[in-house]
Symmetry: C2
Subunit: 310 residues, 2 copies
Amino acid sequence: MNAPEKLPPTHIGFSLGAWSAQQLTAVEQALSRWVACPTDAPAPAGLGDAMRYAVLDGGKRLRPLLVMAACEAVNGNADAALRSACAVELIHAYSLVHDDMPCMDNDVLRRGKPTVHVKFGQAQALLAGDALQALAFEFLTPDDGSVDAATQARLCRMLAQAAGFQGMAGGQAIDLASVGLPLTSAQLHEMHRLKTGALLQASVMMGAACGAAPLAAQNALCDYGAAVGLAFQVVDDILDVTADSATLGKTAGKDAAQDKPTFVSLLGLQASRDYAQQLLAQALASLEASGLENTEALRALADMLVNRQH
Amino acid sequence: MNAPEKLPPTHIGFSLGAWSAQQLTAVEQALSRWVACPTDAPAPAGLGDAMRYAVLDGGKRLRPLLVMAACEAVNGNADAALRSACAVELIHAYSLVHDDMPCMDNDVLRRGKPTVHVKFGQAQALLAGDALQALAFEFLTPDDGSVDAATQARLCRMLAQAAGFQGMAGGQAIDLASVGLPLTSAQLHEMHRLKTGALLQASVMMGAACGAAPLAAQNALCDYGAAVGLAFQVVDDILDVTADSATLGKTAGKDAAQDKPTFVSLLGLQASRDYAQQLLAQALASLEASGLENTEALRALADMLVNRQH
């Protein structure tokens, strides 16, 4: 996030660190204000505390940054983008809460803190995740006139598809069924296309849906989102074996410990690193092909996603 | 559902049984066709089976019937109503899947069948519930031109609010925190207003949102939905102590066994029955005040909800 010296030469003059800080200030403020409304009709019986714990004070906010960057590329509605940015983060946050539960990954550490079910109990964690998913769709459907109805409907459609059985939840089901099994490259790609790729790609496409880009540009952004979504997972698999828990803020080495298939176990470490760089090149080429002008942030984010250390 | 002889005199000429059968045919067909698309891109890795098991072949479909009846009262868009009817049922179904899990109510019997986590395992049950919630919002946002964008956005907003922390999930959190505690009447009402009332009321209001009723009529339907939503829970509490598991299709007496506060434990059995009848009278009075003409189905549903035996 704050390593502009790593950016390729095309980014001279653009600081991802400064841009991200500005975007994240808006996103964090919105999340803090909107998640389970602390002052106006707060969530009852500790539910709001669990929801806020799951969302606030942590997370790299990659998905929100992709939304904001894509909206910037199409010069879209900033209110719609901010709501979309928060909505995708809520979906991501709820998936982590449920994924960490004992019946799933049974993880106790997340972002350097006890996971939600460790801190609030399993029942509250289950409810908090459920409530966060619903809240994502509330965020996308304000009745204050800031986002036109057609955009609201479109954003809801994109998010629902990315989160559901043809997206994230479907990918998690494949993941669940794949532990200990030898997956082919095609199967591993399909799992990750759904499990993490769908929501990352949707983040890009929702940002793009906040404006009115030509169809060719939308398709190019769609390709960018697919490449970035896949690259993210390849790098995640690499970091799972090369980084330690303190750097990651979550339990390192857990894929291997749980005998989960990964790109590293399938391709090996160096080939995985090469693959990540290929995907980065594809993502940048898609941006080039989009014909859009304000793609500095999308470029820098792709680079950061692939070259991150945690 | 098939007891028209119990309807008050005003319903002569209207058969709830025949009306319901017609509506439910459409709803069941739509659910069967749409839930985790069995033929076109099915849900992967057993997820679709768990989702379909949770939704199909069971359930009284009270919420879909309320949607359809309310849409009929305002002469609304039938496509929008059918999608809304399925969407509210998905939210209801997902809540049951999660509610039955060991970390919540730990129930093994639902609609006379093993619960989803018993049949498919906890992890798959968790994912199926999550995917059903997302699918509800997919149902509401078709891109085939059958439902205008403004209605789609409004339906998503209503459903998200009813399902989330200010609705169902919030009510469940209160429920969770209330086991073994003596609740006041006000606290018990607030819990049920959120836990079951919000989605029942939203069913009515979403049906109404499929048309364009005058504000006064919408407000009257809102009052009807609140009365019916509360009456449903009062009757549920009564049946929990008066009916057996075979009749209910779920474990009877579980509220008392789990030391959960109920209207029966708070008011006593006879006073609870009287209260249910008062709420029925309120619901019917609201319909009268709505000025709407085609309210036969809403009337008959209110009567059936209060006088049902399971």
